[in-house]
Amino acid sequence: MSLLEAKSINSFYGDSHILFDVSMTIGRNEVVALLGRNGAGKTTTLRALSGVVSTSSGSISLNGKAIEGLQPYEIARLGLQLVPEERCVFTSLTVRQNLELAAMSAPAALPVQDVFNIFPRLKERQNHKGGELSGGEQQMVAIARAIIRDAQIILLDEPFEGLAPVIVRDLVNVCKSLAEDGRTIVIVEQNVLLALALADRCYVLNNGHVVFQGASAQLRDEPFVIRRYLGVGIAPDVERSGP
């Protein structure tokens, strides 16, 4: 049984139809990348999976249990953790307090030291307030909050955006070791190369539809797909419509 399964989910923002019958399957221990240009619906997909936005139809199941319609906190307690694009580190709380907050409702929270082993920088900065941290450090806190909850499946929304290459490299290594430790990761990423290096499988979204799914190696062999849906495309026919 796959860990997370979404079947034909449709999601709206007001009455703006964002996701059209999106289906995906995430297996245990997998790293799956969600690719697509901005506006394609990647963030909305992660939000739908974590309960932050509601779905008008379709089903989502985690470990076989139906989770569509549940509150975000209920889904988080079942082991699915969203790390949003904006990071949302609490600026008036210290690093340590951010982690404490995250650990509060976890069924089996990890000791803080375990998290500091993964992110030694955070140990140095543990008593600094969220607002005093650099972008990279904030991203570390955001990911650390998911780790300390011992989340089974972590949804990362553009974790490397806006960060210096050196920091990105460190974070990528952290992600790799998380995967090796047996955690399941779904990652939204604009850097296609990076995404394909990290992920076993990937889904490509365009205008709210899934237009490609397969192993990363497969996508590499489809420059047409990459150009059309991830790059700036080829000159289309004038009358073409559809996804």
Partner: protein, 606 residues
């Protein structure tokens, strides 16, 4: 105007007249005397202004007592001290005094909205109560109030007569209420009134389509204050005594509660609410068991109404009528001919020079450069696209062009004129308007009424207090609305309320609002957002048809659409201009491809 047309237009006035005249006779049968009726009408008059303020413009003020008291005390003072003999003159002075107070308080409190506005009006009302009680005690007699107001003297030229209490006083009050109602109806049905409802529905959009909403809000605040002042003056004359209670918060509170109970969206709502309030009070007083609990009962009724029947008693009646009317919906009478959509004529025809230009436009936030030194130019008649990967600064750049946020540095030129810090309202009046990614519509208006709002700004400029026209009878405006309806193909949906439209229809209305402003430069933010493939095709066709006479800037993520539509494309990346050129040029650009793939070079992916 035909007889049928006249009745359809004036029926509320006719019905009201038919109710007011026999009311004292009929009231006698149920034990409601002319005094109680007079009191109800005074509160109804007070409420006419409040209904315009809150029901139409959406401004919840808890401080109307300040104007009720001001008008009342000024009028009472003049009459009691014998400075003025003519009652009507005294009332007029009181009303003007209240309006002046409204101007001052409105100016100070309307700088904030929502909760802060309500709190501000509350505080100012308390201050007026204090003023009445202490520093101005000499004139207001402090907590005693002003007594000994002589009975009303009306004089017209040589004739003068005294208004005795009882039936004559009722007639006097009813006459003033009737006049007040006619004026309020004029305001509500005027273009000024239409803009007010737009402000309540979506103030940002009302401002963006060219209306100076601050002036409209202040104007209606003063009007409501004037009504309050007139009602207060009447109260003093009616009772021959002006109580300091007029300034208390309880007075403002009673007005708010009566209005909500009766129905805030209806001009007669406050009258109905006052009738309920005062009659219930009378009835409950005579039922000894319940007597002292009358306000508790009213409080519970009020809470229930706010929670369940938000539009009050009149709202319930209106819903019933609407359901009945739907069944007998007749043909629309008097179709205006469909002409061309009026577009702002370009101030100067500029062949060769760009119609819109940005020079080194930048926006910096604390420690973060959203847009850096971007140059942009739009040629006459061009469709120009803006694309870029996530975080490119497109929406910030677009907001600066539309006048929604101020640039940190750089310039924006509209046909050579600097519009850099002008603001969206002014920019719209100059012929450029923006369509939003997330629909910014007037949800409670019909499609036709919605399109009228920008058309009214085009025809009347950013502010006009034109209460003596009918909003829906300005030919120029109606032609514009018809043309816009036709262009976005919403003609047979024109009487549908916006919140009942499908998403695709709403998106088209969104574009329709921009067109109705008469803009010749359109800024469209993701016009295809959230659409099904079929709707997408429709809108692409629509966008193509809009070219004639206009220049368009589009931000879009749908690459197929973008490359099919645009003549030229600008690519932003990390706040900077990356490349610019024809669609073919952009598609061949390695740098652009890499920017989208996150820096990955194509060959690395093979």
């Amino acid at each position: 105007m035909t007889a049928g047309g006249a009745i359809r237009r004036w029926w509320p006035e006719l019905v009201l007249f038919a109710v007011l005249v026999p009311a004292p006779y009929l009231g006698g049968f149920v034990g409601i005397g002319p005094d109680l009726l007079g009191r109800i009408l005074i509160w109804g008059l007070f409420g006419l202004g409040f209904s315009l303020l809150f029901g139409y413009a959406g401004l919840l003020s808890f401080g109307q007592s300040a104007f009720f008291g001001t008008g009342g005390f000024v009028c009472a003072y003049l009459l009691a001290e014998g400075h003025v003999q003519n009652t009507l003159i005294a009332l007029l002075v009181g009303t003007v005094a209240a309006a002046a107070a409204g101007l001052v308080i409105g100016f100070l409190t309307l700088r904030r909205t929502g909760i802060y506005f309500a709190m501000g009006t509350l505080a100012f009302a308390e201050m007026f109560y204090f003023l009445e009680n202490s520093p101005l005690k000499h004139w207001t007699r402090g907590e005693n109030g002003i007594s000994g107001i002589p009975s009303a003297q009306i004089s017209f030229g040589m004739m003068s007569f005294e208004v005795a209490s009882g039936w004559q006083m009722y007639a006097f009050i009813a006459a003033l209420f009737y006049i007040g109602f006619i004026v309020a109806r004029l305001i509500a049905g005027s273009p000024f009134g239409a803009v007010l409802t737009a402000i309540r529905g979506n103030p940002q959009r009302a401002s963006a389509v060219g209306h100076a909403i601050g002036r409209y809000k202040l104007a209606i605040f003063v009007v409501a204050a004037a009504y309050g002042g007139l009602a207060g003056g009447l109260l003093g004359i009616f009772q021959s005594y002006m109580p300091p209670d007029a300034f208390k918060l309880e007075t403002s509170a009673q007005l708010v509660m009566q209005t909500v109970i009766g129905g805030a969206g209806n001009l007669l709502g406050p009258l109905v609410g006052a009738a309920v309030w005062l009659c219930l009070y009378e009835i409950l007083q005579h039922t000894f068991a319940v007597g002292p609990y009358w306000k508790l009962i009213l409080g519970i009724v009020f809470v229930l109404l706010v929670a369940l029947l938000r539009r009050g008693l009149c709202g319930v009646v209106e819903d019933v009528f609407v359901k009945l009317a739907d069944r007998y919906k007749g043909k629309r009478i008097g179709e205006t001919s469909v002409g061309k959509l009026g577009i702002f004529a370009a101030a100067r025809s500029s062949t060769g020079s760009p119609v819109l230009q940005a020079r080194a436009l930048s926006k910096a936030y604390a420690g973060f450069q959203a847009v850096a030194e971007v140059d942009f130019s739009l040629q006459e008649g061009e469709i120009h696209g803006i694309i870029g990967p996530n975080g490119a600064g497109k929406s910030t750049f677009f907001k600066m062009l539309a006048g929604e946020i101020n640039p940190s540095s750089g310039q924006i030129l509209l046909r050579g004129d600097d519009i850099t810090a002008l603001g969206a309202t002014e920019i719209c009046q100059l012929g450029m308007s923006k369509g939003y990614q997330i629909n910014q519509l007037f949800e409670s208006l019909s499609v036709r009424e919605s399109l009228r709002i920008p058309a009214l700004a085009r025809a009347r400029g950013k502010f006009r207090f034109d209460i003596f026209r009918a909003a829906h009878r300005i030919d120029d405006v109606e032609r514009q609305v018809e043309a816009a309806l036709t262009l976005v193909q919403l003609h047979d949906r024109q009487d549908v309320l916006v919140h009942e439209l499908s998403y695709g229809e709403k998106r088209r209305l969104e574009i329709g609002l921009v067109l109705a402003t008469g803009a010749n430069i359109l800024l469209l933010d993701e016009p295809l957002a959230g659409m099904s493939p079929e709707e997408r095709a429709h809108v692409i066709k629509l966008l193509r048809s809009l070219r004639t006479g206009r220049s368009i800037v589009i931000v879009e993520h749908d690459m197929d659409a973008m490359f099919g539509l645009a003549d030229r494309i600008t690519v932003l990346c990390e706040g900077r201009l990356l490349d610019e050129g024809s669609p073919a040029h952009i598609q061949k650009s390695q740098a652009v491809q890499e920017a989208y793939l996150g820096g990955a070079k194509e060959h690395e992916l093979a």
